[in-house]
């Protein structure tokens, strides 16, 4: 072995990367350090998310067409069923009004927001446990794991926004600048999903019931969220409760971009914002408190 011996080489003076050091005297990473580390790793999040998304369609003959095809099929079926087969949606039409109102567009704009939440929240809430083999060997903010799931979901979301635009153009004949409301609508959708994921992923390490609790709640929440109906269709007595649902706000914003929002949209959006703020604070606190001890329970 030809090895440079320590005393024959004058090593350049090392500059210690003290910023990367840490002091652990209690379980936990300070909130500031946690967020700073996560921010520094943001590029990794996007690389992994892109990979995750494109990997899904590897080795399929249609490839990425599936990513476009699935939401398209869903939209076409909705349009066909609700414009030619069954004429439901009269109750919604009565409260939403408008000469060019399309119930299919109404439902699809709800589905865009809901399916992002339904597709990514459960995976996000189990992300820390699901990646336990990695977590035991190397430190990185565990916060990244639920965020990764949510960021990956942005790709299909963008595609379904395109489908929504096409659907609105075809079925409602015109789309105004109000379609730009899909931007805040999408942001709020992603933010709320991430907030749930961050909080629940921490709780799930300690309470494995979370996985099944989430599944149970999701099936109920679908009906408690104005996806296929409008808030105004609900009786006065429960309307405030439905508006308080986490996904009512984003969905109302998607409606605003297409068929027009319900009168109760400000309450719904405020409630969505509140879910986001409260869960983000709780989730980041949980991660900052338990970040360095999650591994003991994995």
């Amino acid at each position: 072995m030809s090895t440079s011996l320590p005393n024959t080489v004058v090593p350049p003076a090392r500059v210690r990367d003290s910023a990367s050091g840490f002091e652990l005297s209690r379980p936990g990473t300070p909130v500031g350090a946690l967020l700073a580390k996560t921010w520094r790793s943001r590029e990794v999040l996007f690389v992994l998310a892109r990979k995750d998304f494109f990997a899904r369609y590897r080795r399929t003959s249609l490839g990425l067409l599936w990513a476009l095809g699935l939401p398209l099929v869903q939209a076409i079926v909705l349009a066909a069923v609700f414009t030619h087969v069954v004429r439901v949606g009269g109750a919604v039409r009565a409260v939403q009004g408008g000469p060019h109102f399309s119930y299919a567009v109404f439902v699809y704009s709800g589905i865009v927001g809901w399916s992002f939440f339904a597709a990514n929240m459960p995976g996000s809430s189990t992300a820390v446990v699901d990646n336990s083999s990695l977590a035991g060997k190397i430190y990185f903010p565990r916060l990244m794991l639920p965020l990764l799931v949510v960021v990956t979901g942005i790709y299909p979301l963008v595609i379904s926004l395109g489908v929504l635009l096409a659907m609105a153009l075809i079925l409602q004949h015109s789309v105004g600048p109000e379609f730009l409301y899909v931007v805040p609508a999408s942001l709020l959708t992603v933010a709320i999903t991430a907030a749930f994921g961050v909080t629940l992923s921490a709780l799930h390490v300690y309470f494995r019931d979370v996985r099944f609790l989430v599944q149970a709640v999701m099936s109920v929440l679908f009906y408690a969220t104005p996806v296929i109906y409008s808030l105004s269709n609900a009786p006065e007595s429960v309307r405030w409760l439905l508006a308080f649902g986490p996904m009512a706000g984003p969905i109302e914003l998607f409606r605003m971009a297409t068929v027009g929002a319900d009168d109760a949209w400000p309450q719904a959006v405020a409630a969505g914002g509140a879910w986001f703020v409260v869960l983000t604070i709780l989730g980041v606190w949980l991660h900052s408190r338990f970040d360095r001890v999650f591994v003991d329970r994995l």
Partner: protein, 400 residues
């Protein structure tokens, strides 16, 4: 002296074994905390490491070595006391498939490097070196799911070594990769050390530890048993290995045990010439001598020899179970048994122990006693692999 790069102060790590089903209930205080039991993996550990030192951590399985490495890597926080690490840590471990099996080698380098705290520019600058060191030039754009485990390990190590950490943590490096790559890693670690990087190594390979680390730390049952020069540490470690440990008795062919028939009053391992054999040369003849005193009469006793590796695996068992056995033992009488065997082992750490049995019939025997475990270190056959050294002879002859 400047501030230490690693400082543990009264550090301890407690693991709580929960009854899993009760976790939610106990959190809600519906159950008392008595359903939990605590285990201290490390306790009251004080350790300071200065910049540029290379420290080897020795200890038997379960002594707390892995917990210590996890704390130094920042993966887990101490339950009491403090752990301070001043600088960037890079654990030299095989990262496994990591985040995503569809990532190519190139993307994996980028992801792992970022997680290890390298900037993007830094990764790009060192990229070619990383790939060259891992010998993966032709596969760097292949998804890692097609990599062999060896390729994976090479890539993981390569990134960790090139990450230019302030502190390099090495867990059983010489247990992975092929021999050529191990040598290369070893060489690179020497270079990294020459650059002033602090290195902490955990390994059961005492030979590697002795050449690589000046300082040795011995952990025993979660406590710091020794901190000093490596050669002293190896002595302390051997001493610990020799301590009698009942849970260590994993004899493969045993039917049952019987206590109280005899007691072992002396056991020693020597060379043929009678020298203590803590360090044996490969192939040298060794003698394990055990003296017992009988408390009861024992008909047809016989003895066995159990050789194990440092991490307790049995590698050889052999006994004198002949139909006649040895002369019967009479209560109150003493007897000395000897077993001779060659140190036919590859370089490394081994344990020897004599077991004493009572013959029942051809297939059954009852263990009535066991000598303490005696550790010894075999030198001189580093390139031999496996459990024993066959001392095979190789010849070549030209075909006529």
């Amino acid at each position: 002296m400047s501030a230490p790069v690693i400082a543990l102060r009264d550090a301890g790590k407690r693991y709580t074994k929960y009854d899993d089903r009760a976790m939610l209930l106990s959190a809600l205080r519906l159950r008392s905390r008595s359903t939990q039991s605590d285990l201290w993996a490390l306790r009251h550990v004080d350790l300071e490491v200065q910049e540029g030192e290379s420290v080897g951590i020795l200890g038997r399985n379960g002594a707390g070595k892995s917990t210590m490495l996890q704390m130094l890597a920042g993966v887990t926080a101490p339950s009491e006391g403090r752990v301070r690490v001043d600088g960037r840590v890079s654990p030299l471990i095989s990262v496994g498939v990591g985040f995503h099996p569809e990532l190519t080698g190139r993307e994996n380098v980028f992801v792992n490097g970022t997680i290890l705290g390298m900037s993007r520019q830094n990764i790009e600058r060192r990229f070619d070196e990383i790939v060259a060191f891992a010998e993966l030039e032709n596969f760097i754009d292949t998804p890692v799911k097609f990599y062999s485990s060896g390729m994976f390990v090479r890539l993981g190590f390569s990134v960790a070594l090139e990450a230019d950490p302030d502190i390099l943590l090495v867990d059983e490096i010489l247990a992975v990769g092929d021999f050529a790559f191990q040598l290369k890693c070893y060489e690179r670690m020497q270079q990294v050390r020459a650059r002033g990087t602090t290195v902490v190594v955990v390994s059961h390979n005492l030979g590697a530890m002795r050449t690589f680390c000046e300082r040795g730390v011995v952990l025993n049952r979660g406590q710091l048993a020794h901190d000093g020069a490596m050669f002293e540490a190896i002595g302390v470690y051997h001493g610990l290995m020799a301590l009698r440990d009942e849970e260590n008795a994993d004899d493969p062919t045993l039917v049952s045990r019987e206590e109280g028939a005899l007691e072992v009053v002396d056991a020693r391992l020597t060379t043929e010439s009678g020298e203590p054999a803590a360090h044996a040369r490969a192939g040298e003849g060794l003698v394990l001598t055990t003296t017992v005193r009988a408390h009861r009469d024992v008909d047809r006793p016989f003895v066995g020899l159990l050789i194990g590796t440092a991490d307790r695996d049995i590698c050889v068992y052999s006994d004198s179970n002949v139909a006649d056995g040895y002369p019967s033992l009479r209560a109150g009488g003493a007897q000395t048994y000897q077993v001779r065997f060659p140190a036919a082992f590859p370089t490394g750490s081994y344990t020897a122990r004599m077991t004493l049995h009572r013959h029942v019939d051809e297939y059954r025997r009852v263990q009535i006693g066991m000598s303490p475990t005696i550790s010894f270190y075999v030198t001189g056959r580093p390139l031999v692999g496996g459990l024993t050294d066959l001392r095979a002879s190789f010849t070549a002859a030209a075909e006529v």
